[in-house]
């Protein structure tokens, strides 16, 4: 296993190199991440992420309230794919308590989760180009994202920190307007994806800035436990939606998007491809959604998962989101450990960053698509 060389001790009398604190307040650290960089001119000799500035003690909060009370916390861990986290937590509890979820609710969950994945990837696309100095794509991506948020808002009542899932289903049934809007959006967004490819993917400056930059090979990625688009960009076809299908993901035809190279450009291509796959899933789900109830009829009032250890994982927009739950049979968890992808991704930075230029730091950090509260939890 590759280990980062510790270059972060100050060397007395060294006039050739210097240390630069990037963050916690910096336009490109996407929140309050701090990177300690050791630099020689513009070249990076060492990098050390300093985390904890956005710590909100989610895991500790889980130990101090019952299962339902923790539900609103879940979408605030990764606020960009909050729906996936929210539904994932419900699914974890349902699996532990063996609650049967109605068909219609399963379909709604898939549609909402994939819509949420689209919003997350769109926000990434916009801010990534912003990191690289392109202002205009940001507005285009946000415009498209806004349409999605309106669709999700119409059924969940919130735009970002959803609390839509319930143990045994979802809180509210969807109507035909919602389904039609989702289907229309897929048609619309396919055209937009072509535009994004024409304007961004084929831009020569963009290619020069991302190709061969920040290479995270399959070996490094697997060693560190990298997951999601970053892992698939290294050519490893792993996706929890296919490998361990949860919910009803095994009913839909979609591909695991991979790319070769493991560089920033590969990560871009994977996310762009994933948006297209999400559209496929949404279209199939909208086409096949059955009628019926959206909430299981016999969910116990007090949620008391059986004593023991439970593990459940979903594929969030950023990767493998795992929940390890230890229950003693009461209605408060003993421990809820959240395994979040960004924490792992930012841990690879001391290996990936050295040798690159200062401008590449921004390109690499943007390409792994971190969300700070998800790192700190």
């Amino acid at each position: 296993m590759m280990r980062p060389k510790s270059t972060m001790e100050l060397v007395p009398g060294d006039d050739e190199t210097y240390y630069l604190n990037m963050g916690p307040q910096h336009p490109s650290t996407h929140g309050v991440l701090r990177l300690r960089l050791h630099l020689e001119g513009e070249r990076i000799l060492g990098a050390e992420p300093v985390i904890g500035y956005g710590h909100r003690a989610h895991e500790k909060m889980a130990e101090n309230r019952d299962y339902l009370q923790f539900l609103p916390n879940t979408s605030r861990i990764d606020y960009l794919s909050g729906m996936i986290y929210n539904l994932g937590y419900c699914q974890a509890i349902e699996k532990a308590m063996q609650i049967e979820v109605p068909e219609r609710a399963e379909y709604i969950r898939v549609i909402c989760a994939e819509l949420n994945r689209l919003t997350s990837h769109l926000l990434w696309l916009g801010t990534y180009l912003l990191d690289l100095g392109g202002f205009t794509p940001f507005l285009y991506a946000f415009d498209d994202r806004e349409k999605l948020l309106d669709i999700l808002d119409s059924v969940t009542g919130s735009r970002l920190t959803y609390c839509y899932g319930r143990f045994g289903g979802v809180s509210m049934d969807v109507d035909d307007t919602f389904l039609r809007a989702a289907a229309d959006y897929c048609t619309y967004f396919r055209k937009r994806l072509d535009e994004y490819h024409a304007l961004v993917t084929h831009n020569i400056i963009f290619r020069h800035r991302t190709k061969g930059v920040g290479v995270m090979g399959p070996e490094l990625a697997l060693d560190y436990g990298v997951s999601g688009p970053c892992l698939r960009a290294a050519g490893v076809a792993r996706d929890l939606r296919k490998d361990e299908p949860y919910g009803i993901y095994d009913r839909f035809a979609f591909d695991i998007v991979t790319a070769e190279g493991g560089d920033c450009f590969a990560r871009h291509m994977v996310r762009m491809g994933e948006m297209e796959q999400s559209l496929n899933i949404i279209e199939q789900a909208v086409g096949g959604i059955p009628d019926g109830p959206v909430l299981a009829p016999k969910v116990p009032k007090r949620i008391r998962p059986p004593a023991g250890e439970h593990y459940f994982a979903v594929e969030s927009a950023r990767g493998h989101f795992g929940m390890y739950l230890r229950s003693d049979g009461t209605d408060v968890p003993v421990r809820l450990k959240l395994r979040t992808p960004s924490f792992v991704h930012v841990a690879t930075m001391p290996v990936v960053l050295p040798g690159t230029m200062l401008a590449d730091t921004v390109a690499i950090l943007g390409s792994i698509d971190i969300v700070i509260p998800e790192i700190d939890r």
């Binding site: 336009p27 990191d131 400056i205 800035r209 730091t361 921004v362």
Partner: protein, 328 residues
Amino acid sequence: MTAPHATTQFFHTFDNPWIAIAAATGALLGFITINALWLIWLERKVSARMQRRYGPTEVGPFGLLQTLADVVKLVGKELITPDHVHRPLYLIAPILAFAPLAALLSLLPIDADWVFHDFDITLVLLLAFSGLNVIAIFAAGWGSNNKYALLGAVRAVAQNISYEIPLLLAVIPIVLMTRSLSLHEIASAQSYPFILVQPLAFIIYFISATAETNRAPFDIPEAESELIAGFHTEYSGMRFGVFFLAEFTNMVIVCAVATLLFLGGWKGPLLPGFVWFFIKVYGLIAVMMVFRWTFPRLRFDQLMTFAWAILVPLALVNLLVTIVVLKL
């Protein structure tokens, strides 16, 4: 040599030469300010339209007075001088950035008979003065005593020195064709715009000029996603505003030189000469703005490679071809 009628007339309307100089300076400063106000408004509108927004609409007709309101706000802001700066350099840098502008503008012939100064070597003087900008940026970066500002300043120096070479190499063919270093004479000599015979020189000049003015995709010295604000990170209020003024005036200057050297200056049908001049200048500036809102930023080493490995050889080949053709 063409007599600069307008200037002579301008100065003769005042009995006292000092009043004449004061009036001329006032006119130039007025132009710098109004030009910056209008260009910032234009930039906002161009960017807004490219990004499917409206841009400023509320203050004044079409939001034209929005920048004026912003300037009032900027002037009202406290001028903070951080404790850790090198005071003399920090304070003099905005002045250094601003001072050459009036001199530079006074060299530009706006119409066939409208020029403040005209003598043999206006082009050389203009290119020399525009080099002063680097010193101001470096003084700001160094004096700020801030790592981000210093990095921005170092980048700016390397970038400006590198791009001055292709810029000058692109200008020389025009000088050879007209056998003159006077902007007024070069522009007068164009019975057709020189861009038709020197398209490559024009493209090289325009790219280099974009880099010289630190505009995107070459805005590396102030790359905000990497260096916060680059060399002017530590500046607030109107000190920052002065850097801004300088940037927008420099855009006018490089685009005016492009107009005079390649696009026939004030020449054009129907409309008066100075109108044509400004149409061409602001047209070129609009193109620069479209660049900014279209492209992502280059990386520093790629920027240098682009100058030394592509622009300089191309400019040299272009120069050589021009010499051979002229000698035949």
